[in-house]
Structure formats: C-alpha cells, structure tokens
C-alpha cells in the first residue's frame, strides 16, 4: 500500500501518479470523489471528478475552477498510474476512485451507500487488493429501513400535518439529502417549497437529468398563501428561519441516519426524525467489503476502531486510515434533557 497510496500532510496521496484524492491541503492535482465540503475543498490547481459531479462541484469550489471530468468506467493514465471512476451511490456524481499500478489495485470509496436512490447512479462493487472504506455508521445498530418505507412515512406525516393545519418543514443536508427527499415526495399532497439555499443544488440535479417534482422557491411565495398545505424543504440549523413570522404552526422533521437511535434523534428544534441516510449501514458495509474481495481494508471516518477490530476477527487484514474526512452531518450530541430509565442505562439491578 505504501507505494500506491499514502497519507501525507495534505491528504491521501499517490506518489507514482503524483495526485491526491479528496485532499485537505491545497495541492496541484486533486481527484474528488464527491462534492461534499469535507471531500471537495476549494483552492486546488486542478480537479478531476466524474462528469455527473461537475455541476455540483463547481457550486462548491467555484464556477471557473479548473475541473477535468471523466465518465464512469473510463480509464485514464496519470504518470503511469491507471485511474478510473466508478459510481458510489452517495449523491449525484459521487465516485469511487480506482487506482492501478503494476497490477496492484486500490479503490477509494469516498462516501457511499448501496441502497437504491434514484437521484444518483447506483454503487458498483469493484474488485481490488486494497479497499478504503468509510465507517460513519459502522455499528450493527445501524440497519436502514427501506427507502420506500421512509418516503411513505414522510408523505403520511405531511398529510397528518395538513389535517391539523400545520406546515411541514423537512430538513436535511442541502446537497444530496434534500434532493433525495424531493424524489420521494408525493406532489399531489400539496405545494413543495424549497428554501433558497437548496435551489442551486436542486437545479443542478435537474440539469443532470434527475426527474424531481415541481417546487416553488421560498422567496417567490406571494404574501397571501395557504402555508398549511405546504411542505418546506430546508437545511437544518438556521436559528432564525426565513419562515418564522410567515408560517404559523409548523411541524419539523430532520432526515439523517443518526435519527435511528432515540437519544440522537432530536436535532435542534426538529419534532421528528426520519431515518434517511446516504451512507452504508452495517450489513451493506460488510457486503460491500466482501464484494471487493480486497486483501487489505483501510477504514476511515466513523466507527473505525470497531470496524477494524471486527474485520480482523473475521480474518481480514484491516487497519485504520486517519483522514480529515467526516460525515457531512456530524453526529449529534445526545440531548441531556432526555430522561433515561436508570435501569435501561445499565445500573446495578437487584434480582
């Protein structure tokens, strides 16, 4: 591995090819797996990404950034190293980077999921010697429900809110999560309104050929408007949301894999959580690793220690790879106000 890819101060580096993958320092040549900010940083001299990723990457690193693109599956040669991109199924254009040198193959998965998601090209397992995987949700407690089940929960919640005259506010990360949510909304229920911050990303998805239901832009809404029927798609965390004052009664929900666990469910002011994640859950992580038939597994951001130990016990060669990558939705801190049953917390028990 040391000769093919290694960690340097600026990021994951390929010495033979003289390029970086998702670097955190400013470098001459960066291959970018996807456009989330911990992977795609501005200021590189030259970028390479999948052609499906270009539009969203420009939104993140600048419209005039020097970006080369590559269709999925096409191989190029960089200083004698064979490089190709393969779908990672995380968000639009997200790619795994396959690197081959003298018959040795390494795959950097970036962030990925294997669940269906019609807003991006599905994950493709790649045979390799070394597989670099994320481990955001690398504990067996994380097992995602079917996407269709979550979408019907969201639509049902929207209808119930309408019945009691409340506006629904659905919050998620601006790039990827909210477009995926849009793809599952039933526009026959009522008008769908996008927070302005999301609009450019959704437009990029639409231009990329992803079919999404019609939406209104929040700032275009006329003064007299029946908010009670509406679904607002928004990003979390704004303390003074623009709808405050316009919209009377609301019910808000937050979409994230973290909402699978009750103590990390409530985020900010959200009333509800929907388990919609763009990362692999535990069973898919193990399946994905098995399908690569890799001899060496390098585990990054997330439950690295646990995943490494588990893989070692399964007889695989695994170790941690320290990177600056993280989940785009950092794990929420458990709310302290949540009273927990002492018995459930594991205190002493008399029998």
């Amino acid at each position: 591995m040391e000769e093919l890819l290694k960690i340097t101060k600026s990021g994951l580096y390929c010495p033979h090819g003289d390029f970086y993958i998702d670097p955190w320092g400013k470098v001459d040549r960066a291959i970018v797996t996807h456009a989330h900010s911990d992977h795609a940083r501005p200021g590189m001299k030259r970028y390479l990404c999948s052609d499906e990723s270009e539009r969203v990457l420009r939104l993140r690193v600048g419209q005039n950034a020097p970006i080369d693109t590559l269709p999925f599956g096409q191989q190029i040669d960089i200083n004698g190293v064979k490089v190709s991109l393969h779908p990672a199924g995380h968000i639009i254009g997200s790619a795994q980077v396959r690197v081959e040198y003298q018959g040795k193959v390494a795959v950097v998965s970036g962030d990925y999921k294997t669940q269906p998601d019609r807003t991006c090209t599905p994950f493709e397992p790649i045979r390799c010697h070394t597989f670099i995987t994320e481990s955001t949700f690398g504990l067996p407690i994380y097992q995602w429900p079917l996407e269709s089940e979550i979408f019907s929960q969201i639509n049902r919640w929207w209808r119930q809110n309408q019945e009691v005259g409340k506006t629904s506010i659905l919050m998620g990360y601006s790039l990827g999560k909210t477009q995926r949510a849009l793809s599952g909304l039933d526009p026959s229920i009522g008008p769908i309104i996008q927070h302005d911050a999301i609009v450019p990303y959704t437009d990029a998805y639409r231009m990329g050929g992803v079919d999404l239901p019609d939406t209104l832009r929040f700032s275009d809404i006329p003064t007299r408007f029946d908010w009670r029927q509406a679904m607002i798609i928004a990003t979390p965390g704004s303390n003074a949301p623009p709808w405050a004052g316009k919209v009377q009664a609301v019910s808000s929900a937050f979409m994230s894999g973290w909402t699978a666990v009750r103590r990390t469910k409530k985020r900010g002011s959200a009333d509800k959580g929907f388990i919609l994640s763009d990362h692999v859950d535990w069973p898919s992580l193990l399946d994905a690793i098995a399908e690569t038939r890799a001899e060496e597994i390098l585990v990054t951001h997330g439950y690295t220690r646990e995943v490494v130990r588990y893989l070692l016990e399964q007889g695989l060669d695994a170790r941690e790879l320290p990177t600056h990558w993280s989940d785009e939705e950092p794990k929420p801190v458990a709310s302290e106000s949540e009273p927990a049953d002492s018995e459930e917390m594991g205190g002493p028990e008399s029998v």
Binding site: L139, P140, I141, Y142, Q143, P145, V164, A260, V261, R262, R263, K265, D271, K272, G273, P283, Y303, E306, R309, Y310, E313, A334, E336, S337, A340, D341, E343, E344, M345, G346, E349, V351
Partner: protein, 543 residues
C-alpha cells in the same frame, strides 16, 4: 402491536400537550378494546412488572445476535438503552413473517408467561418475537418484557383524549380512572360508556386543594361566612365505605389500607355509601407527631408493635358521600353538619383523660373531628396563624361555608405561618446540572456544634444569577475535596436560610429535619464565625 409502537414513538416525539391529546385520540379511535385498556393502564402508571431480569434478557440477546461480546457492548454504549439496542441490532423480519398480533395478545400470551418458563423456553419466546416484529415493535416489546416502558403522556392527556372520543366529561373520567385499573376490555368499555355505574365501588373523589395564596382580606367578606380550621401537616386521605368494603386512598391515587389497618377498622364502622375526607397524622398523647413518624408507617404494613409505638389518627374534615349520594355539590355547611352526625354515631365515651389538641374533637381511638378555631374576626385568624407553629400545625385553612366541593380554588385558602430564618454557613455544593446553561446547585449548609460544623439542610438558592456566579466562582477556588459531583467548600460563605417547619429526626446528623429549606440571601459581609450554634435551632423545636 404496530399501532402501539407508533403511539409510543409519536408520544415521545410530541412536545406539546395538545399534540399528545390528538395522538392519543387517533390511537383510541382505531384500537381494539383490549389494547386500549392496556394503554390506559400504562399511562396511568401501573407499570407492567418486569418479566425478565436484565442479565437473562441480555444473555439471550447476545446469543440471538451472535455478535462478538465487545461489539455488543459497544452497541449498548452507543445507544445507552438495552431494549433499544437489542431492537436495533437484529435483522428486520421478512414482510411475510411479520406479526399482526395485538398489544394485548403479546402481553397476555407471551410476556405474562415469561416468568414461569425455564431458560430455553424463555429464549424460544424472545427468538420468536424478535423474528416476527420489526425494529420499532421490538423496542416496545423489549420494554414491556423488561418492565421499563413509559408512554410519554400523562393522565390529563389521556382523559382529554377519552373525553373527546366518548363524550364523557373529564371530571367523570377523572373519577372513573382514579383507583386501581384492571387492564381488560370490559374496563375500557365501562370507562368510555356514558352513565355506567360499575365504577363507583372503591373509587375516591378527586381531592380538592386550597389555593396557595390568600386573597385580599377585603375580598373575603365576613369571617362568619367562612369555616376556619387548622391546617394539618399529614397525609391527605379519603376513607371510603361502599358495597360492604372499606378502602383508604391518599392523594395521588395511592391505596394504603395495608399500611393503616386502623383506618380500615374505622371504615368498617361507617354506613354503606360513605366517603370521608381528612388527614392522616402520626398522633401521640393527643398531639400531632412529626411527619417523619408518619413516613415510617407509610413504608410497610405495621407489626402490632408499630401500631402501638407509631400510633396514627384520622382527622376528618369533610363528608363527600352519604348513603351512596354524592354530596359534593351541597354547601360545605350542610356537609359538615352531616359529618357531625356520622361522627356522633361513632362517638365512644370514656376519654382517656389526656386533653387533646384544641383543633380537634375526640371521637374514638384513631379518629378525630377537625373543629373550627372559632375566630370572630380576620385579625383573630391572623393571630391564630402566629400560634400555629406552637400547635404543630402549618397554619389555618379557610373554607367558604356556602362552597361546593369543586375546583374553585378561591373557596379554599390556606394561610401558612411565616417561615423561620437562620444564618448558616455553606459546607458542600452539589452540581445537579442545569438547563439553558444555568448552573443549578444544591447547597448543603450547617451550623456550629462546638467547634465542628454540622450540616442541617440541603437547599436550592433563590439568589440572583450574579450572586450564584460569584458563589460558584468562590467554590471553584476553594474546594477542599471532591466526591463525584459534590464539592466540600472552605466554610466561609454565610447565607440566610428560610424554612417552613422544623422537627426532630433520627436520620440526620443534626438530629433535626427542616421542611422546605431555601436560601434567600447571601451575607457577603459575614464570615463563618458569625453563624450561631446548633442549639439555637434545637430551641425552635416544638415542645
């Protein structure tokens, strides 16, 4: 079970009371009676007993999950809830295998049997359940098995929802729901059926309470329009005699006949269809004893020795039902005269010669009647309040003679005696956390006993934020010792402590127990040398 799992989650997510009511309403409109009845039981707080110990439960879960032990532990650490962890780590059932059984079915046919099964059978039941229930249903199933389920709604939400559903008034529902609840379909049907009578046996009426604040003297009118009695410091209770059965209820719907067989014996002397409201007091030689004495009686069914050494009495002050007729709408003056007649019927002659407390009339052993203090003006009432502490009562209570036994607080008011005050020195500080970034602390304060400081009370501070910050800054700088969240502080901070009452106690170092202690002032100019000796406080004990 799915509807119940959804109910559990939705109640947990709801932050507003009105939302909880509509969630419950929606649940009850579709729930079968047997499930609805269990939900009523769970909200009322009649927890299902634990059917399995934690270790057995976790052992079975470890076996079924077949994960390495350390990974199971890491999962427990991440979730911090055993039932939930087990619900999450197992695979989802195939749609075809999913259970469609009801909540009641799972409880009656599976969970209730668990304690009587041997180990392999227990494992079999859990395996089967976990294979048939999706994750959210496994969560509630596990919590039912472990006896740790808590629905995040209270009786008020429940009553509002059921009232919307059935048209039965909330007052009637409150009455019907007070007392023990048997989670059966019939109970639920009877609960929501208009004009059903099955509920009357053994159920107490909702207690009515005096308002905390006395209204303006001039709004009260003539003192002759009011009943003025001492405010007893015991446990409020109703003695109920119906269908040849006696029961005793404390407020908060606690049945206490086992603890107070004396009161059941009294109840057995009452005519059928009779409910008396009053106060249980520890009572020795004609005088009320401290509440700590009464607390000893509350914890267990008494041995013959306890009845002798920790005697109690019931001080009756209202009559809510006679001959099966609800008297609550009648004016107090009429209820009192009826109560007097009931008491006359129980009167046992031959007093033991010890003069009793002036606030009561002796009726028979373990029974007294609260009497008017006989004030003829409001200033006499105020004077009585001044004497209250010496008489071992909290103050007086005034009740409008024409008032019904309802919820109009202005008709019942309590006038409590002025709190006592003493200067104390800060000894320990316990951080108990706080919301919104405030520092919430418990302060333990003490007095000198010779050259040693003795703790006398643990109290919260009613001080300004800046004062609390200043004190806590001092504490951080001057911590002598740390023990968990408790810090021992250099004894230099002097505070003014206020409290409502004082009584002897065998459970504290000082031999005293203060009621309602709170810190009201920080004497930044005084030092620990200015604090009085413990004897000063001991002298305040009622003789």
């Amino acid at each position: 079970m799915k509807a119940f799992a959804d109910l559990y989650t939705e109640l947990e997510e709801a932050t507003h009371g009105e939302d909880k009511v509509s969630i419950l309403f929606r649940y009850f409109t579709q729930a079968p009676d047997e499930d609805a009845s269990w939900v009523v039981a769970l909200i009322k707080g009649d927890r299902l007993k634990r059917s399995m110990s934690r270790s057995t439960f976790l052992d079975i879960a470890r076996t079924v999950a077949s994960l390495p032990d350390w990974l199971f532990e890491a999962s427990l650490d991440a979730v911090m809830d055993q039932s939930e962890t087990v619900a999450l780590i197992l695979p989802e059932p195939n749609f075809a295998e999913e259970s469609t059984q009801s909540l009641a079915w799972w409880i009656e046919n599976r969970i209730k049997h668990l304690p009587h099964l041997d180990a392999p059978q227990k494992e079999q039941v859990l395996r089967e359940a976990w294979a048939m229930l999706p994750s959210s249903q496994r969560l509630v199933f596990n919590k039912l098995v472990r006896g740790t389920i808590r629905l995040r709604a209270d009786a008020k939400h429940l009553i509002s929802a059921l009232s919307m559903l059935s048209g039965v008034s909330t007052t009637e529902l409150t009455h019907r729901l007070s007392g023990a609840w048997i989670p059966e379909p019939n109970s639920y049907q009877a609960l929501i059926t208009p004009e059903s009578n099955d509920f009357l046996t053994s159920r107490p009426y909702p207690f009515r309470y005096p308002s905390e604040r006395a209204s303006d003297r001039k709004d009260l009118g003539l003192v002759a329009k009011w009943r003025v009695e001492w405010k007893w410091n015991g446990k409020r209770a109703q003695i109920i005699r119906r269908s040849g059965k006696s029961t005793v209820w404390l407020k908060g719907e606690q049945l206490v006949q086992d603890q107070f067989p004396e009161l059941i014996e009294l109840g057995d002397l009452l005519p059928n269809g009779c409910v008396i409201d009053g106060e249980i007091l520890a009572w020795k030689e004609g005088q009320p004893e401290s509440t700590t004495t009464l607390d000893k009686r509350l914890t267990r069914a008494p041995k013959p020795k306890d009845r002798k050494e920790l005697p109690i009495t019931f001080v009756a002050f209202d009559l809510l039902e006679l001959n099966g007729i609800d008297l609550r709408e009648r004016p107090l003056v009429e209820r009192l005269s009826q109560l007097q007649k009931v008491m006359d019927g129980l009167q046992q002659l031959g007093a033991d010669g010890i003069p009793s407390h002036p606030g009561v009339m002796d009726i028979r052993p373990n029974l007294h009647l609260s009497i008017s203090i006989g004030a003829e003006s409001w200033s006499e009432v105020s004077g009585a309040v001044q004497r209250a502490r010496d008489l071992r009562v909290e103050g007086v209570i005034i009740k409008r003679l024409e008032s019904a036994y309802d919820e109009d607080m202005s008709d019942w008011q309590k006038w409590l005696c002025e709190p006592l005050q003493i200067d104390v020195v800060l000894m320990y500080v316990e951080w108990v956390g706080g919301r919104n970034g405030t520092e919430e602390c418990h302060y333990t304060v003490g007095l000198w006993k010779g050259r040693v400081l003795v703790p006398i009370a643990k109290a919260r501070a009613n001080l300004s934020n800046s004062e609390i910050h200043a004190i806590n800054a001092f504490v951080r700088e001057n911590t002598l010792e740390k023990f968990g969240p408790v810090r021992t502080v250099k004894p230099e901070i002097v505070m003014r402590l206020e409290f409502d009452a004082i009584q002897a106690s065998t459970r504290t170092k000082s031999g005293l127990s203060l009621k309602g202690p709170r810190i009201i002032k920080w004497h930044s100019n005084l030092t620990s040398g200015d604090v009085p000796d413990l004897d000063v406080l001991v002298n305040l004990l009622p003789s």
